[in-house]
């Protein structure tokens, strides 16, 4: 995206009001440009020269650096930006650009010689009459050429612009291509004559110009423009002649654009003349130049005709998704510098005339976009496409399951139902009748209650895998059910995670590490006891674990789980001959 530097106060003067930075940023956002940076001339110069602030008298005028879309060449200078924003704000009408009505005989002429087709075949020209420069306008005029050269001209390969003080020259002009030794002139900013081949050598050490030399360097002929007195106007795309240099006092400007791409040359010429015709005696009027090809074909430039399109209203509203009337659409388009009116009385088509400044508009879709921008992207009501939302609890469970499996634990899937004994007595727990859902008609003692812990299932798994090589590392993520008075049915599920280690040793430290890992993957820091910003562990005292060999896990101040060496009596109850460490925690706390 190209960036344009403009003096803030001059811009605000042109906009007819001043803005706070936020207000201006908002305007830019809605229009589709961006205030990239706020700086001063002084800061820029100091930075370029790598200097500290020296309190010198450098200019500290505020500069806005504004990013503009890469296809909006009309916005590459203050004049174009200000005009576009004024019209967007509804403060100005779109100008109608005209080509001065003069006869072919009195028109300036540019003769194109055949040899130019070997190197740079196209040239287009125009004249700005009675232009009033001041320093700011003059600088802007130079800057715009620079910006165009950088962007659409692709560093002068496609198009190169030359601007001249017409009063120092005499038409007709010729566009020729000659062997370099035959071209001899005083180039801009120099005082002595150079032969073109010498000049190329000379510019090899010029930081700014050396990067353009490759465009013609290897050619047997160089493009060159002469006036009737054989004064060299320019050696495109390298340098202009010193003779016709424009100054603040220049009144009549001759503009030539030489090119390898005619379409882009026309866009560049149009951008130059439409922008600066605002400072001409006859505002928005440009004097044409006839370009006569070696084969006798003649064309008159600039071509400021508007490009007409008939766009169905339904295409615009159907693409944006907002019901708009014809007159709403036309006034929105006018704010985007596009002429628009209803096609025929009561018609549902819109006649659009695209001014020469809006070369970016190629298709009705570009018109449609302008309507959407003027309407405001953020005012368009959204339509939701069909989509699904997964259950967060199950998604989280799955992510935790993968992490635990990656820690080397095998997943088991055990029964929800168990005997009362397994759920309480065998775990050294007392049944105080406040936790477990009790089944009224169990077919066997295996299905008396709904588990309140994953522990019995895990221990039964180990008990039935006595011959499995040790250590055994297993885990389960599953639901338990607890009596719950807040629920209509009096009971609710909780999603628990359990992990168990069984081996020659208790594996307490390994399970401790797993606790740390689970907390880490949940993005929870380890904190000192009492701190509720993360988790810590504290000695606990539960009967299913060995005394002093167990800890509760406190997460954000709440007890969410416990781990410890399973009590030898409990191990014995489940017929497990090896020590085990067991972890259980409630993962719903992480949601």
């Amino acid at each position: 995206m190209p960036t344009v530097s403009v003096a803030r106060d001059r811009l605000f003067a042109a906009l007819g009001r001043s803005y706070t930075q936020e207000e201006f940023e908002e305007l830019c956002f809605n229009f589709g440009i961006e205030l990239d940076d706020v700086t001063t001339e002084k800061a820029i110069i100091l930075k370029e020269r790598h200097l500290e602030d020296d309190n010198s008298s450098l200019d500290d005028e505020v500069i806005y650096k504004i990013e503009v879309p890469a296809n909006r060449y009309d916005l590459l200078c203050l004049e174009g930006l200000a005009q576009a924003l004024c019209i967007f704000n509804g403060h100005e009408k779109i100008p109608r650009y005209t080509v001065a009505n003069i006869s072919k005989e009195s028109m300036l002429k540019m003769q194109v010689k055949k040899e130019t087709s070997l190197i740079r075949p196209f040239v287009v020209c125009a004249v700005l009459r009675g232009i009033a420069f001041d320093e700011a306008r003059y600088n802007s005029f130079i800057d715009l050429q620079d910006k165009l050269h950088q962007n659409i001209c692709r560093k002068r390969t496609l198009v190169a612009i030359g601007t001249h003080d017409l009063d120092t020259l005499q038409g007709p002009f010729t566009y020729e291509a000659l062997p370099p030794p035959e071209i001899n002139f005083v180039p801009l900013k120099q005082v002595k004559h150079f032969r073109a081949d010498e000049l190329m050598e000379f510019y090899k050490s010029d930081l700014k110009l050396k990067k353009f030399l490759h465009i013609i360097e290897k050619s047997k002929v160089f493009p060159v423009i002469y006036d009737r007195n054989r004064t060299v106007l320019s050696l495109p795309p390298i340098i202009n002649g010193a003779h016709s240099a424009i100054t603040l006092k220049t009144k009549n400007v001759f503009i030539e654009c030489t090119a390898t791409d005619l379409t882009k040359a026309k866009i560049v010429l149009n951008t130059m003349v439409t922008t600066f015709s605002a400072y001409c005696e006859r505002k928005f009027e440009v004097e044409p130049v006839e370009v006569i090809s070696f084969d006798g074909n003649s064309s008159v430039y600039p071509d400021l005709s508007e490009y007409n399109m008939e766009v169905p209203l339904s295409y615009i509203t159907g693409s944006i998704g907002v019901p708009l009337e014809v007159d709403e659409v036309t006034s929105l388009l006018n704010r985007m510098q596009v002429h628009a009116e209803q096609a025929g009385l009561g018609g549902n088509n819109i006649n659009v005339s695209v001014p020469p400044t809006r070369s970016d508009i190629l298709h009705p879709c570009d018109v449609m976009e302008d309507v959407a921008i003027a309407y405001g992207y953020n005012n368009i009501p959204k339509r939701k496409l069909s989509s699904l939302k997964p259950l967060p609890l199950n998604q989280l469970s799955d992510l935790i399951r993968y992490e635990i499996a990656m820690n080397g634990f095998a997943e088991v899937l055990t029964w929800i139902l168990c005997s009362k004994k397994e759920n309480f007595e065998m775990l050294n727990r007392k049944d105080d009748k406040t936790t477990a859902v009790v089944i009224g008609n169990p077919r066997s003692s295996d299905f008396e209650v709904v588990r309140t812990s994953l522990m019995p299932g895990m221990l039964k798994t180990v008990g039935h895998n006595k011959d499995h090589p040790k250590p055994i590392k297993i885990f389960e993520v599953g639901d338990v059910v607890l009596l719950d008075e807040k629920k209509d049915v009096g009971a609710s599920n909780r999603r628990l995670l359990a992990a168990l280690y069984c081996g020659a040793n208790s594996g307490f430290e390994l399970i401790h590490s797993l606790v740390d890992k689970i907390m880490e993957v949940m993005g929870t820091p380890f904190v000192p006891v009492g701190n509720s910003a993360g988790y810590y562990i504290e000695l606990s005292d539960e009967p299913e674990f060995l005394s002093g060999r167990q800890a509760k896990i406190i997460y954000k101040g709440r007890r969410i789980g416990i781990f410890g060496i399973v009590h030898p009596e409990v191990l014995n109850n489940f017929d497990i001959p090896d020590p085990c460490t067991f972890l259980e925690l409630d993962i719903e706390n992480f949601l």
Binding site: R72, L158, K382, L399, M406, P579
Partner: protein, 488 residues
């Protein structure tokens, strides 16, 4: 021994008031007693209070005099009881330092006459210094004056004696249980776990680092994004083709051949294989025409479209090259709406810095259907980004050669308190879709963003090279949370 003595004594006594006395009463070394006290205290069998006492001990010099007598007495005894002895003679009989001290002390005591000839002044002296030193050696206490004079002569120094007073602790038992660090299979087999005494855990420290496998954070985020797309009904596009022709990467997208993105500054072009072998010729003609002179309601770019440019191979600069191929295939079939997505590698000829890499991952989603509107695009973007936790969005007009309208997506960042750009979106241009053969009312809305940017925000990483590539610290990969995108 000491342990049994202490625990046994406490079984019948309230306390041991002084470990020093206890040691001497029981014929134990005090050092052994102290070690046992420390160990029992660690397991809280006993409580122990420090006792400190100042005492005096002999210096090496003091010890010598305690054994051999003080220098002044030795000197006195070297002088004959009658008559005198020449000083030189006397000096030869004694050690030089002893002689010097002896002379000065004996003189001070007025025991002798010092001159060239030395003689006794008194006939009988007592060695008081030696007596005092022996009394200190025996642990007796002396008067202040005596202490001061011995100290001044550097014959004694102060020493702090440490001991304990001991009483029963919370875990007191007359006999210590076995100390264990872990419960083992043997403990269970022998049934001795009941007697085991465990060393206390330090719960203020984390456990040892776990031995585990880890997935790369960027790919964790990718997985979640993939789930989000699937939940939104999007099908994954095959993106396992990094080498692409300029035609599919640019031309088919109505991106003009002079576009700056097609510069070698931005795109990696290939030396081998340098050009594509084939392109669908009929379609190429349609693309050429739409670039050169438009059609389908467009005026086109009006330039000479060059086949050589389109043939140039490159590393794809965006996954939209794949989208283009997919849409081209789709347009050849009877129309059916589609939702596509991909998350894969793209390449840019950029210099590497904190925020740019020469390769990164592009996330892309597109919806192809009849009658889609900007409202649909805004709707689908809101759905997608709110699943990423970004529900406050706004859209800025932008330019992109193959979408019109184009919208940059901004999200309000609560931490930074400002709007940040998070992606790009738009409707594909008719100049791209119609040459493929889609019916005129078929529209394609699409959006794209990098995978790295949201991941960096998510994991608080501000240098892209810390996230992706060979310079990444492995501990970053080992220590990062699960990606919870899409879970809310």
């Amino acid at each position: 021994m000491a342990e049994d003595a202490i625990l046994g004594y406490l079984a019948t006594h309230e306390e041991i008031p002084d470990s020093g006395q206890f040691a001497s009463q029981h014929g134990l070394h005090h050092n052994d007693v102290v070690n046992v006290i420390k160990s029992l205290h660690g397991f809280r069998y006993i409580d122990a209070q420090d006792i400190k006492r100042e005492s005096w001990v002999l210096t090496d010099e003091g010890k010598k005099y305690a054994a051999e007598g003080s220098p002044e007495v030795q000197l006195f005894l070297a002088i004959p009881s009658e008559g005198s002895i020449a000083k030189d003679e006397l000096q030869k009989k004694l050690d030089p330092s002893l002689f010097k001290i002896g002379c000065s002390q004996a003189g001070k005591n007025k025991w002798v006459d010092m001159g060239k000839q030395v003689s006794r002044k008194v006939q009988h002296v007592e060695d008081k210094v030696k007596d005092l030193l022996i009394r200190i050696q025996d642990g007796q206490t002396l008067g202040k004056e005596d202490i001061n004079s011995l100290r001044a002569r550097k014959l004694i120094v102060a020493q702090t004696w440490k001991g304990y007073s001991v009483s029963k602790g919370p875990n007191y038992a007359p006999k210590r249980k076995k100390v264990a660090t872990d419960l083992t299979r043997e403990n269970l087999q022998r049934g001795d776990w009941k007697e085991l005494e465990f060393k206390e855990y330090n719960f203020n420290a984390k456990g040892p680092p776990a031995e585990a496998g880890h997935l790369h954070p960027l790919l964790k985020v990718k997985q979640q994004l993939k789930n989000i797309f699937l939940q939104m009904g999007f099908e994954e596009m095959p993106t396992n083709n990094f080498v692409e022709s300029s035609f599919w990467n640019f031309d088919a997208l109505f991106q003009p051949q002079q576009h700056p993105a097609r510069d070698s500054h931005d795109t990696f072009f290939l030396e081998a294989p340098s050009t594509t072998r084939e392109l669908p010729e009929d379609y190429v003609q349609l693309v050429k025409r739409v670039h050169e002179s438009g059609g389908y309601g467009s005026r086109g770019y009006m330039y000479d479209w060059k086949r050589e440019e389109a043939n140039k191979n490159l590393l794809r600069t965006h996954t939209t090259a794949v989208s283009t191929r997919m849409l081209y295939t789709l347009a050849k079939q009877p129309f059916a709406p589609k939702r596509y997505f991909s998350i894969d590698r793209v390449f840019r000829n950029e210099s590497v810095d904190r925020t740019h890499l020469a390769e990164f991952h592009q996330i892309e989603g597109l919806v192809c259907d009849r009658g889609l509107t900007l409202g649909d695009l805004i709707g689908v973007l809101n759905d997608f980004f709110s699943r990423l936790g970004m529900s406050k969005l706004r859209f800025k007009p932008a330019y992109n050669p193959y979408t019109e309208p184009s919208m940059e997506i901004f999200s309000y960042h609560e931490g930074l308190k400002k709007w940040v750009e998070i992606g790009n979106s738009g409707m594909f241009r008719p100049e791209m879709l119609l040459p493929m053969g889609f019916p005129e009312d078929v529209r394609v809305i699409a959006w794209g963003l990098s995978l790295e940017r949201p991941t960096m925000i998510l994991y608080g990483i501000d240098n892209i090279r810390d996230l992706f590539g060979h310079k990444v610290d492995l501990s970053l990969i080992k220590r990062n949370p699960i990606c919870r995108l899409g879970i809310n």
